[in-house]
């Protein structure tokens, strides 16, 4: 068991390294560089040359990469090319904000959708099954910003319960953070709930035709108990995978929701950096996101093995 986790962790680190190289290569392939991107349609050739030299862009890419990498493993992500601010200081509060929002949304979304999925499976074909299905399907049929706008109109404008601006600051107490971030968290919940709910329901139902489930029924157990105790553990692997994918989405895919609610997360920071070709910042954000992805996927793999006895004792 320990060996399994150890190997996974090592593989995760190797993947991260590969991703960092790849992202760096990508930023090099991208047409345009920071100098022309920052100066925009105000760039004159002389200004460009000066800027490039100032930023060290006249050095070869490999040199720049290794300088960056050596710094990164010592916790120094360098300075932003565009405004010379220390990246680690800029990204820390933003990453905290991103994780806070993702955690807040997951806290609502995962129990809600898995719970509803189980209930839907238990009461398959009944009212609650159909209602939860249709409602969640409708929420994923519209773009994320649209849900955001609708929630703002309902709960910030018509019923002034929550602020439409969800900007959180360092000095904000935790209770206020929760209050302010409610609308974006609800938006994200609506975005991810359908996927997890449907996967829970389907996985459970697909197990329901197995002989051992029939056995359980023949023993006279109620349907709810059969679903929860007998079907769910064997249906867990795809559910866990889908939960992991959705949690990852909550961390890395929320730039649009950040924009709609003016939430200061890493997403907007990275988009700004990409459009300005601020390579060290893009690298730092990319590395963080990759870390989250690899971490979640590794956890999902391990969890899937742990819940399934057959995989635990693999020959």
């Amino acid at each position: 068991m320990l060996r399994l986790i150890g190997t996974r962790a090592l593989l995760g680190v190797a993947t991260l390294f590969a991703v960092s190289v790849l992202i760096f290569v990508c930023t090099q392939i991208l047409p345009g560089d920071v100098a022309s991107a920052v100066l925009g349609n105000q760039a004159t050739p002389e200004a460009l040359a000066v800027f490039r030299k100032e930023l060290g862009l006249d050095q070869p890419a490999t040199v720049r990469y290794f300088n960056w990498f050596l710094g990164a493993i010592q916790g120094d992500l360098g300075k932003a090319l565009t405004n010379g601010r220390v990246i680690i200081d800029e990204i820390k509060p933003r990453f905290y904000n991103t994780m806070f929002l993702a955690g807040y949304s997951a806290l609502i979304a995962v129990p809600l959708s898995v719970g509803l999925g189980i209930i839907a499976a238990i009461r398959e074909g009944r009212m609650i099954d159909r209602m939860s299905n249709v409602l969640t399907l409708m929420t994923i049929s519209v773009p994320e910003f649209f849900i955001g706008y609708v929630l703002i109109i309902l709960f910030a404008v018509n019923l002034p319960w929550f602020p439409s601006l969800a900007t959180v600051y360092d000095e904000m107490p935790i209770s206020e953070r929760f209050y302010v971030a409610t609308l974006p968290a609800l938006t994200l919940t609506m975005l991810v709930a359908a996927h997890m709910l449907r996967m829970t329901r389907t996985s459970v139902l697909s197990i329901m035709s197995s002989p051992y489930i029939e056995m359980a029924f023949l023993k006279g157990l109620p349907r709810s108990r059969v679903v929860v105790r007998h079907a769910l553990p064997n249906a867990a692997a795809p559910i866990i995978t889908v939960i992991a994918l959705n949690l990852a989405y909550l961390v890395v895919g929320v730039v649009v929701v950040e924009a709609v609610f003016t939430y200061p997360g890493v997403g907007q920071y990275m988009v700004d950096a990409v459009s300005k070709r601020d390579v060290p910042v893009v690298q730092a954000c990319g590395l963080l996101f990759a870390g989250v992805f690899v971490g979640l996927n590794t956890l999902a793999d391990i969890a899937a093995i742990l819940v399934n006895p057959r995989l635990r004792h693999k020959r």
């Binding site: 345009g32 100066l39 200004a47 405004n83 800029e90 003016t262 459009s275």
Partner: protein, 526 residues
């Protein structure tokens, strides 16, 4: 006591009257918002309060270094802490700021600027000529500053007194004070180069928190009265980056911010209906929207094709639908009707499918024409292009609209694609507008239109101190650009600011929105 009294009137049957008054006020606000709002000079400014601004036009990569400024938020925060030598007033005139007065020698190649005395930086140091020379010098020589280009004609800046500088130019320029009003040229203390934490200036406020991409907090300077009478009235300013237009609008409507810039023209009319909001519209002061064709690249070398493209665009339809009427139609020459040198006598290019068709046939072009657009060029570019496509169809001209990436648009498409969308910002003078866009030597000559006759007129007009003579010269220049140039400038947008009704001292401005980005200094709370 006062509160008490007001409470009484509202609760004793005067509600109806109050409502009528409010309705009338709202109607008035709407009406004035739609035309020019007169400066509320008769009202005395009051001190106090925190002005909450919600702005677009900045990002997490913003810096305090004036050599990096490129967009609205940076201009706004730099002007909280600093001043320029010259300010542009509501009417578009150059008026004294840190420069108390100035004088041009005949020929306008040598200028003397007298610096105001007794002005203190927030560090307590007194402003003198050295500070000014240092601050302007940041943008000269080997620098990445966008202002380098406009300062290029300056050959020498000399200190001719403790509070006086003399500027020598390589060629005459009657508009030098306008050049010095450029937002990059804020005045900093001599030798100041630490732009990581804050800005030291002579402005009304000091920057306390600088969190680019999130917010900026400024408080009024504690060391005595601001040197401009009646300005710098707020106790503090909280500027928040709100990049999403809808989010900005809702924040204003729900009272979370007191002022926003760049209202979406599509929804501005609806915002005006909100009872607490006052929309200030600076007519034709905004961006010039255009499609530009390279006049040195086939088939755009053909004059008939260019005429067909100019007659084949339904400008009014684009203004009415894409910009909901919050724009003026352009006449292909970039000069706004708000500019004193605008030539009203020059006939406007109408939408005339027959003429367009006639010119197109005469040009004898076969195959479709490709227009590259992107929302990265300006918001509404794609919709404008689609309407253009429809309008050209009626003239029998096939236009392929190709939507390209907004990312890297300015480095990959603009200046490279032979026919693409572009916006041009407002410049304070006709000279700056033309020198950067249409001179043969201009780095951003995005139509590759090179005419020595035109260059000659613009350079001569630059040094001309006689306004009437200048006017005829610029009229000639406008005619040449409109009839021969490769730019199809179809609309000039209005700036649309949204204010809470309690913010006073707001006015339309000829250059930038939010009172020339000086709302923090000019406004006050009722």
């Amino acid at each position: 006591m006062l509160d008490r009294k007001e409470l009484d009137t509202t609760s004793t049957g005067l509600v109806v009257d109050r409502r009528q008054v409010m309705a009338a006020a709202a109607a008035l606000g709407l009406a004035t918002g739609l035309t020019a709002l007169p400066a509320e000079a008769q009202e005395t400014p009051k001190k106090g309060g925190t002005l909450k601004l919600g702005m677009e036009g900045g990002s997490a990569s913003d810096s305090l270094d004036p050599r990096t400024y490129a967009d609205s938020v940076a201009i706004a925060y730099s002007l909280m802490a600093c001043n320029c030598l010259v300010e542009i007033d509501d009417k578009g005139n150059a008026t004294p700021e840190l420069a108390e007065s100035w004088e041009a020698k005949p020929g306008a190649t040598e200028w003397v600027f007298n610096i105001r005395k007794g002005i203190k930086f927030s560090t307590g140091k007194e402003l003198d000529a050295d500070d000014v020379i240092y601050s302007i010098g940041l943008h000269r020589g080997e620098t990445k500053s966008p202002a380098k280009g406009i300062l290029e004609p300056i050959t020498e800046i000399k200190k001719t007194g403790s509070h006086q500088i003399t500027i020598k130019l390589s060629g005459g320029n009657a508009d030098l004070p306008f050049v010095l009003s450029d937002y990059h040229l804020i005045i900093l203390p001599n030798g100041y180069n630490d732009f990581t934490k804050t800005l030291i200036g002579t402005g009304a406020y000091t920057l306390d928190k600088f969190e680019p991409g999130v917010r900026i907090i400024a408080t009024r300077r504690k060391d005595g009265e601001y040197w401009k009478k009646g300005r710098g009235n707020f106790d503090s300013i909280e500027l928040r980056y709100i990049l999403d237009a809808a989010a900005r609008t809702q924040a204003l409507v729900t009272g979370q911010v007191d002022a926003v810039n760049r209202l979406d023209p599509k929804t501005a009319e609806l915002v005006m209906k909100a009872p607490t909001v006052n929309v200030v519209r600076s007519k034709a002061s905004g961006l010039r929207y255009a499609f530009v064709a390279h006049r040195d690249t086939a088939p755009y070398t053909n004059n008939d094709l260019i005429m067909a493209l100019k007659y084949g665009i339904d400008r009014q339809k684009i203004v009415d639908t894409v910009f909901k009427g919050f724009a003026s139609i352009g006449n292909d020459h970039l000069i706004s009707p708000a500019n004193p040198y605008f030539d009203a006598a020059l006939p406007q290019h109408p939408y005339d499918p027959d003429k367009a068709s006639f010119h197109f046939k005469k040009a004898g072009i076969s195959g479709p024409i490709e227009l590259q657009v992107s929302e990265g060029a300006f918001s509404g570019a794609t919709d404008s292009a689609v309407l253009y496509q429809e309008a050209l169809k009626k003239a029998g001209i096939a236009l392929d609209v190709k939507r390209v990436s907004g990312d890297g648009y300015w480095s990959n498409v603009w200046l490279k694609s032979p026919f693409c969308a572009v916006y041009w910002g407002s410049r304070p003078t006709a000279d700056l507008q033309y020198s950067q866009t249409f001179l043969s030597s201009a780095a951003w000559n995005d139509t590759n239109w090179k005419r020595p006759e035109f260059d000659k007129i613009v350079i001569a007009a630059r040094a001309e101190l006689d306004t009437a003579k200048r006017k005829t010269m610029y009229a000639e220049a406008q005619k040449m650009v409109a009839e021969d140039g490769g730019m199809i400038c179809f609309a000039i947008s209005d700036f649309l600011d949204g204010y809470s009704k309690k913010v006073k001292g707001v006015a339309v401005h000829a250059r930038y929105d939010l009172c020339d980005m000086r709302i923090a200094e000019k406004g006050w709370f009722a």
